[in-house]
Every structure is written in structure tokens, then in C-alpha cells.
Amino acid sequence: NSPGAQGSGPQPLELKEVFKMFQIQFNRSYSNPTEHARRLDIFAHNLIRAQRLQEEDLGTAEFGVTPFSDLTEEEFDQLYGNWRAAGGDFSMERKVGSEDWGEL
């Protein structure tokens, strides 16, 4: 099921309902209909991704709608990632000393 598909059947309507509930729950509004449609697409994409994560997870985790469901992965990374830590602009070699807890 492609995200935001306009095909017949109940699914697109259900998706819109879920998205509406998401907007109410997390107090989201968008500046214009184009932006709304774009966020709906991203939201649908994230639901599919959550379903895939659910299938892949080996524990008891549940994945689904979250406050970040209308963000692309890139936007989420930019907003909530720690680029200095991830970007490799540092290197730190781990050495474990003889102290009980590690080393200074």
C-alpha cells in the first residue's frame, strides 16, 4: 500500500482518520494543504516503517504512532540526532585499565 494512495477502498480514509487523531493528540497544524498532504505522506511512510520494525524486533517493543511520526528520518536526525557524536569528527580509543570501574 503506497503512502497516501488515492485508490478506492477504506484504507486511505482510515489513514486520514489516524492522521487527524495524531494531529489532535500532538497539537499539530500545517501551514497549507500542500504541506498537510506532504506530512500525511510522511506519516503513512512512518507507519509502514513501524510495522516493519515490529516484525523485525526480537523483544517486546511496540512501534507505531509517536510525536515524531510526521517527520522524515532526515528531519528527525537533524532535530534530535547528535551529529558531533555520529559524524566521526572525533576518535576515541578505548583502553580499559586496571581499576575496578574502568579508567580515568
Partner: protein, 243 residues
């Protein structure tokens, strides 16, 4: 090492869940949470510390562009402590040229900081006996996480690509559930997990917290386990050089 440990259950140790908003301040949030917890345990005084001071006064400039846990601790050492959240509140944006560290009274300070071994049992022992510690993890699975224990593989969550700092506050085991297969009941193994405090608000995850599988280096949790130390320095026996 106890079977379970949850510092949230001890009053005055873990401060309320915070929200980074549009600022990559996880490193400062985790570091402040670590010092708050260590200070609460060692001095029996509850404090909520200024994340904003760490963002404004760090040596690496704009703290909202991400940072390292150890730089947060270096800032605390350089400034001889940290102000309270009440005095120097969080703005969600850094002011690197307007460090107000000297303006406010320090309410907590640290002796030094250490990196622990990358062994989950040693981390658990330190957590249980000394208090919460910071860890840096891969956050790939957290955008869509709602609840439960994440048990990832290195394919679904690369332990080398760590890009998010959080506070480790406890560990436990999920209750074993009986599974029915081919007509007979088999008790399934319980899942050991870590309890982590995030900084994305209380509406995310399990009231702002999440759980990762313990024992499999899930999402790189053992890569950088770092903690400040607020113990009083041990009074060493004085030695005198003979005249």
C-alpha cells in the same frame, strides 16, 4: 549485582523528563541528569541543574549542534560547578557568546569523570552500587518506538553508529510468559532490559523512558558508558618529607 534496579523509585534522584525541543542537546541533558543523580545519592540533596549553562559555556561553541558528554563534564570542572535549572533555565537554543556561569551560585559540582568498561555486567554493577550513568546509543529505532523492550540486531541498529546520549537509570527482567506450542506449555525465558531516561518529553515512549535489551550491546549501549563522580576525595594519610 541485584536482579533489578530502578533509581526512579528513590525520591530526589531522578529529575522530571525534559524536552530538548529543536536543539541537539541530548548530551547536555544526559550529563546534567547524571550529575543530579550522583549528587542526590552522595549528598542526599535533590537538585535540578542548568542544561543551558552547559550549552552556553562549552568550549565547542553552539551546544545545540550536538556535543560530547565529556565536554559537558569538562565545562562543569572549568566552571567549578553548575547552576540550578531555576536560576539558569533552559531556552532550547544556545547562546555561545553569552555564558552566564559566573552570574549564578553553583548548586552542584564534580570531582572528575570516568569511562566504564564496555561490559554490561560491570555497567550494571556500577549502576546498582554507584548510581545512574550516561550512555551514547544508536537512536535508529526510537523515532517510532512506543513501549516495550527493544531487542535489536546489529543490522537493525548498528552498535558502532552511536548518535544519541541518554541516562541509564536501571535494569530489570520482564516477566516470563508461558507460550503454548503443539498442545503443551513451555515457559519462555524472561527478557533482561535496561531502563533509559530520554529527553524527548513525557509524551514519547514509556512516559519519556524506554527499555533496551540487556546483554546484547543493543544499539551500542556499551560504547561510551561515562559518569561524573561526586564522591568526596578520600583523605589520604599525610606524608612529610624529612628535613
Amino acid at each position: 549485582v541485584p536482579h533489578t534496579c530502578d533509581w526512579r523509585k528513590k525520591p530526589g534522584i531522578i529529575s522530571p523528563i525534559k524536552n530538548q525541543e529543536n536543539c541537539q542537546s541530548c548530551w547536555a541533558m544526559a550529563a546534567a541528569g547524571n550529575i543530579e543523580a550522583q549528587w542526590g545519592i552522595k549528598s542526599h540533596q535533590s537538585v535540578e541543574l542548568s542544561v543551558q549553562e552547559l550549552l552556553d559555556c562549552g568550549r565547542c561553541g553552539d551546544g545545540c549542534q550536538g556535543g560530547f558528554i565529556w565536554d559537558a563534564f569538562i565545562t562543569v570542572l572549568n566552571n567549578s560547578g553548575l547552576a540550578s535549572e531555576k536560576d539558569y533555565p533552559y531556552l532550547g537554543r544556545a547562546k555561545p557568546n553569552r555564558c552566564l556561569a559566573k552570574k549564578y551560585t553553583k548548586v552542584a559540582w564534580i570531582q572528575d569523570f570516568i569511562m566504564l568498561s564496555d561490559n554490561e555486567e560491570i555497567i550494571a554493577r556500577y549502576l546498582a552500587t554507584q548510581g545512574p550513568i550516561t550512555v551514547t546509543i544508536n537512536k535508529a529505532l526510537l523515532q517510532n518506538y512506543q513501549r516495550g523492550v527493544i531487542k535489536a540486531t546489529s543490522t537493525t541498529c548498528d552498535p558502532q553508529l552511536v548518535d544519541h546520549c541518554v541516562l541509564l537509570v536501571g535494569f530489570g527482567k520482564s516477566k516470563a510468559e508461558k507460550t503454548v506450542s503443539s498442545g503443551s506449555c513451555h515457559p519462555s525465558r524472561s527478557t533482561p532490559f535496561w531502563i533509559l531516561k530520554n529527553s524527548w518529553g513525557a509524551h514519547w515512549g514509556e512516559k519519556g523512558y524506554f527499555r533496551l535489551h540487556k546483554g546484547s550491546n543493543a544499539c551500542g549501549i556499551t560504547k561510551y558508558p561515562i559518569t561524573a563522580r561526586v564522591d568526596r576525595p578520600v583523605k589520604k594519610q599525610q606524608v612529610i618529607c624529612p628535613p
